[in-house]
Amino acid sequence: MSINTSPADVALSLQIGAEDLGPLFVDRLRAAWNSSSPLAPELERYAAGSRQGSEGAAQVFAHPKFRTVATIVTQPDFRVFHRTGGGAIPLSIFGAYRNRAMGTEALVAVSPSFNGSYLLQYFPNQGDYLDWWVDTIASKVEDSTPNYLAPPVSLESLAYILHAVDAYRRASLHSLLSYTPTDAPFITVRKFLETMTRSMESMDTRWLLPAFLFLTPGLNTIAFHPRPEHMEPLADNDFLIPTRNERTGEDIFLFGEAGRTMGVEFYRSWILSVGFDTALVTGEGEKVLHRAFLAPTALGNHLISLDTDSAGNGIVNHQPLTSSELRRKLWAMLKADLAAIPAAAAAPARRPSVATSAVSKPAGDDQGASTANRCPYCGNDVSPGARFCRACGKPMSQPAAPKALGFCSGCGAKLEPGVRFCGECGRPIG
């Protein structure tokens, strides 16, 4: 269990051991959670009061930002789910969450950490989150590069083209391993199709096509029916040039300009990829808003955004972006997604399971379990005098009529009802 302020854009990092999740969130906080919470599986399994938290748990609990972080990750109304891996990187996942009811722009990233613990990283606003995201994942590229796969492209054609990029690496490796240098690498048509089938079945994310198929969330929900005509962009876009081997008479593909350029690019500088999707969390479940795959290389951040046409067929928009273009694109995506979060409450929260045996409260715990009030909206316990329910965020009392709250304790200015800061001196109210 640890707290630290990471450099750059992460305002706060909390590392919480799996064994402390229950004691922290269930016993101390009495948090409720929805099914989109990354902690839901652990919290579901935990029987209230069945474990004592570690010494670090109290420290985390006492941190002034912990409740905000806890509410966001247990009851998100918006989430971004990532699968990272591909190339030379092992597979991993992480998510980013937000809760609009908190009245803050903050996002919290949650990722599994060592020894089964969880790393929670708090970003006070989406700008900081995106800066961290781009710094961590994207390539630092500032020059434009040709888009050999300009939109729109069908999902099936994309698969053929990604395999063509892989095929260049395969041909290059073959040339290396057989000590046969060549200026005109090629692959037989038969081998191309045969290895494509094996590649897709293997899900070996060291290759680009399987990395795309495996890492992109929800791809199995999109229709995928490859047909011969989907291979046309291979020649049209100069990835592969169909011809005949003069010596053997066999049908082969030579690599065209796009095939060579992207082949070399990915062969030499593709290290990792990330597939991600964004979703609203509602009472009826999750509604996916965007789905994409990113493959950064030395020449560009290849962002592949997925969509479907009216017939449900997959359509992709591929753009090789500079770092600044990528950040701008992600910002626009996030901004549009967050604007779609309805003002109503998120998915109904699960209440923690009732303890079968009493748990003694640690000293200094001022969030005591005994309460005289319940939230009229979600039924969760509410501390006496609390202005908002910590579970669903609804206000606990509605003033009958606007009235002045008094005077600022800092400068003495009269305060208007509902203000959070003094309009004269800026002092926080309440």
């Binding site: 020059d143 434009s144 040709p146 888009n147 050999y148 300009a150 876009n237 100069d238 796009a258 928009n317």
Partner: protein, 295 residues
């Protein structure tokens, strides 16, 4: 939406329009005097005096109707595709020939366009065929070889797409510029074949501006722009408008033709080696037929 004009309808319409316009000009400018509905001409106009002011008004009304029919009858065709969104771009263009009012540099007749939000500008070029139509207006379709405008395409937010469309017996190369996001205000280029360009200003008003031809605005060396990813192309005849980014075998490289903005009128190409040419002063600066040698 009105039906596009057929070739025969267009021919008859243009014949009536130009005849009527000639008569109207003659009535308006006989020795510099204007004939108004309530006035009298000092001299006998070349086209003959209208029998009554109402005939003049009727002539004006008829020309206006023909103008409107030209506007609604010009084809709107899929010509390009946005490299950022993949959206198809449909734009009006008179594909029957250069003698239509769509190509009138000073008074183009074009319908309001419905363009993607990423549309930024439209330039173009026309490789003249064996026969140049005779039309009584100035047509400025660009050079005969496609080009790009460096001060636009050099902006990091802008990309361009070249495509091909047949216009009568000529081959036209519309070049659409797209922006994502839009850069801060920069002067664009006059919309292909016209004397101005339209855009939304910072307050959302639909306004126009105009630029003069500058030599620096014509870069015919397209290959570096393709290789840097700034310029994409659509193969001639590709009905699917597939965007291509490779320079190898690009059909728009190494084309022959006049590499200066042409001035066409009355079946003539008014040539000049310099792109800085005053359209008014170019009449007639030098003359050559369409089948003659280029500069």
């Amino acid at each position: 939406m009105s039906e596009p004009l057929s070739a025969a309808e267009r021919r008859d319409l243009l014949a009536e329009y130009f005849a009527g316009r000639e008569k109207l000009y003659a009535l308006w400018y006989p020795g510099g005097e204007m004939v108004s509905a309530g006035g009298e001409a000092a001299e006998e106009p070349a086209g003959g005096m209208p029998e009554s002011p109402s005939e003049l008004a009727a002539l004006q009304q008829r020309l206006s109707e023909l103008w409107d029919r030209c506007e609604t009858g010009v084809p709107v065709l899929p010509l390009s595709r946005c490299p950022y969104t993949g959206a198809e771009v449909r734009h009006s263009i008179d594909t029957y020939g250069l003698d239509g009012l769509w190509w009138d540099y000073h008074a183009p007749v074009r319908p309001p366009e419905s363009l993607p939000s990423t549309y930024f500008a439209l330039a173009g070029a026309v490789k003249l065929g064996s026969t140049l139509e005779e039309f009584p207006f100035l047509c400025r379709p660009g050079p005969e070889v496609p080009y790009v405008v460096p001060r636009l395409l050099g902006q990091p937010e802008i990309r361009a797409v070249i495509s091909t469309v047949e216009v009568g017996n000529h081959r036209a190369f519309p070049t659409f510029y797209f922006a994502d996001p839009f850069p801060g205000y920069i002067s664009r280029v006059n919309t292909w074949g016209t004397a101005q360009f339209w855009f939304n200003d910072e307050e959302g008003n639909w306004v126009w501006d105009a630029v003069e031809d500058e030599a620096a605005d014509f870069d015919f060396d397209l290959e570096p722009w393709i290789r840097s990813g700034k310029l994409l192309w659509i193969a001639p005849g590709d009905e699917h408008l597939r965007l291509r980014a490779h320079a190898r075998a690009c059909p728009y490289l190494g084309l022959e033709g006049r590499r200066f903005p042409m001035h066409l009128t009355l079946g003539l190409v008014l040539g000049s080696d310099e792109p800085e040419i005053d359209p008014e002063a170019a009449w007639p600066q030098s003359r050559e037929t369409a089948a003659g040698e280029g500069a």
